[in-house]
């Protein structure tokens, strides 16, 4: 999946470190050299956040996701609502209609029941609001110190509308890149509540379920959508690089066209972060056939979660799969994966 030369994993003496969970190259290597090697099959090899397979009623997608965000409660959400929305979004990025979720809880001894209740309530609210029920679950308690409060892992299934087949390798030169709204909100909202880092800001997480927005896009111009991704961990930069590598193309994007809230830009400025690397939980990136760009933007902007949708660049032929950006300053640069971690446990 990623081309840069790299050293092999040291399976004999090496240990997992935080960079293996950061969504960058180190994590890609861990997944490829350990999990893909052990589980190898055509679905995993496709490298999507979900996999599709045939069932008697059509094409079904399945996804699974783990949530370890710290703090558990942050402006705009909780680990519970995040788990529901995030799992729905992984299904929705295949253009699918999400149907059912599962949730399993790993809880640390001593965790306050009132917090657990609040997490479950927000999860229930999210599930009812989105119309996607949580129909099965599991509960485990581990000794104090063996987990950090609560971790949630989920699974979800959904059905893909007939005729739709979105694939991560489908981007073609000339296609346009649309983001559904301002980037970096979630990451900055979570960081603003981190111990030792607390700062006052009005920014709330963008955590939201995107299946409604996606349904409108699919209905209006499903055939023009090449693929969609939600730019979570690693931000827009990681997502564009993943697509570029999967599709064997490059991108040219325009810094001035990327929607970023001034508060988010300011927080990134003093934290020394690049908003392009910061996580989102309620945004999508769509690669779309150029002739459908205007229609797609209009459909997206008509939905509350796509009001600030913007065309930020286009796909170019590039065997080296570079994501290039024209800076607002007037120069050019690469937009790369982040090396190592920016901040752990953002989702």
């Amino acid at each position: 999946m990623i081309k840069a030369n790299r050293r092999k994993l040291d399976l004999k003496n090496g240990r997992v470190d935080l960079s293996h969970g950061a969504g960058g190259r180190a994590m890609g290597q861990l997944i490829e050299d350990i999990f893909h090697k052990a589980f190898d099959n055509e679905w995993l090899r496709a490298g999507n956040d979900q996999s599709a397979f045939m069932v008697p009623g059509g094409r079904m997608v399945m996804t699974t996701d783990g949530y370890v965000v710290s703090p558990l409660f942050f402006p705009g959400g909780t680990i519970g609502s995040l788990a529901v929305y995030g799992t729905i979004n992984d299904i929705a990025m295949a253009g699918a209609v999400p149907l059912y979720l599962s949730a399993s809880f790993i809880i640390e001894e001593g965790f306050p029941l009132t917090d657990l209740d609040r997490i479950a309530e927000t999860m229930g609210d999210a599930s009812r609001e989105t119309g996607v029920p949580i129909i099965t679950g599991d509960t485990k308690v581990v000794e104090r110190g063996k987990a950090d409060g609560v971790f949630i892992s989920t699974a979800g299934v959904g059905m893909v509308p007939a005729g739709l087949d979105l694939r991560s390798d489908a981007a073609r030169p000339g296609d346009v890149v649309i983001v559904s709204g301002s980037i970096g909100d979630h990451g900055v909202a979570v960081m603003s509540k981190r111990e030792n880092l607390e700062f006052d800001t009005g920014i709330v997480s963008d955590s939201a379920a995107l299946h409604g927005l996606v349904a409108g896009m699919v209905e209006a111009a499903g055939a023009a959508i090449r693929l969609m991704r939600d730019p979570t961990r690693g931000g827009l930069a990681a997502t564009l690089n993943e697509i570029a590598n999967a599709s064997k193309v490059g991108f040219r994007i325009d810094e001035e066209a990327i929607p970023i809230k001034p508060e988010v830009a300011a927080a990134c400025e003093f934290l020394g972060l690049d908003p392009l690397n910061v996580a989102n939980e309620g945004k999508l990136v769509a690669v779309v056939a150029p002739e459908a760009a205007d229609a797609m933007l209009a459909v997206m902007r008509a939905h509350p979660l796509g009001r600030e949708a913007a065309l930020v660049g286009h796909v170019v032929a590039d065997d080296d799969c570079f994501v290039q950006m024209a800076t607002s300053f007037g120069g050019g640069r690469i937009v790369d994966w982040l090396s190592g971690e920016q901040l752990p446990r953002i989702c």
């Binding site: 030369n5 300053f329 120069g331």
Partner: protein, 379 residues
Amino acid sequence: MKYIDEHRDGRLAKEIARQIAALADPARSYHFMEFCGGHTHAISRYGLEDLLPQNVQMIHGPGCPVCVLPIGRIDAAIALAMRPEITLCTYGDLMRVPGSNESSLLKARAAGADIRMVYSTLDALRIAEAEPDREVVFFAIGFETTAPPTALALRVAIAKELRNFSIFCNHVLTPAAIQNILESPDVRKLGTVKIDGFIGPAHVSIVIGTEPYEFFAEEFQQPVVVAGFEPLDVIQAILMLVRQVNDGRHEVENQYIRAVTRFGNEKAQAQVANFFELRESFEWRGLGEVPYGALRLRPQYAEHDAEKRFSMVTTAAKDNPACECGAILRGVKKPANCSLFGTVCTPDTPMGSCMVSPEGACAAHWTYGRLREHAKAFE
């Protein structure tokens, strides 16, 4: 962002670029070194070199404290952190810096060492106060900019009688290093390019002022322009340097007047002088031994000096022999001229000092500019 966007205005940049192109004498070339990694990062992140004429070239200097920290100091910190009584507090950017044998603080932590990422010296003090049974060591690095907060931490620790708090001091000094680049026989032996002027650091100069550069501007007949870290600051500084070169001047000019004065922050300087003294010599990764280029705690604070308190030993460790960081830091080579660049040495698996921090010349080029070597770059 008010007060930030104004310094990133593309139209103003274009106008300054036009003036540079008009003033730069086509019959000669201009090589300017931006000493500081903050400038290197700004130049790469905003694609500033795309706005300069071919004959105005930037050399990315050694002003990145993470980059110039020798492997031996990382090894010593890892060895210390592995001791069961030690809690090592460090800024995040040191976590991945490679020591010997592919070690790093990140890997030491995975192996059980108590290493905590902090955002300020005060976080480290807080840990020392909350956990009196732990030996809390702050891994202090940085130039004149970060030395005052370390001095402040020491002052607070002494006032609060935090006997379990100590400092592993790796603070280094800018003027000594610039001078070393210009005059050291070792550096000359290794080869240099002719440097026509320096962009002086922003934050460092807020503390030390512009006066410390006056000696070598005169002595080495080198123009210096102290500049801010925003891209318009940098491109304006380049214009000021081109003018000085064309006029045959070698003065210290201050582009960053909104923050820098001639004598700097004298209170901060006094704090540093209270607690620190000069080291006769200190190794800079990529440059070798730099005389009077670093600080250590004064002997009366030995109790808080981790090197003394824990009898730390720094053993010399060599960089990979194919690594060209030394030549790159002196401007003799470009990152792409190194056979390790982008093959075995990337920001994920850095081998040389210039790749370890986003402010290093190689990391900046890899992250933002490596497709310049490809024909289709930024058409």
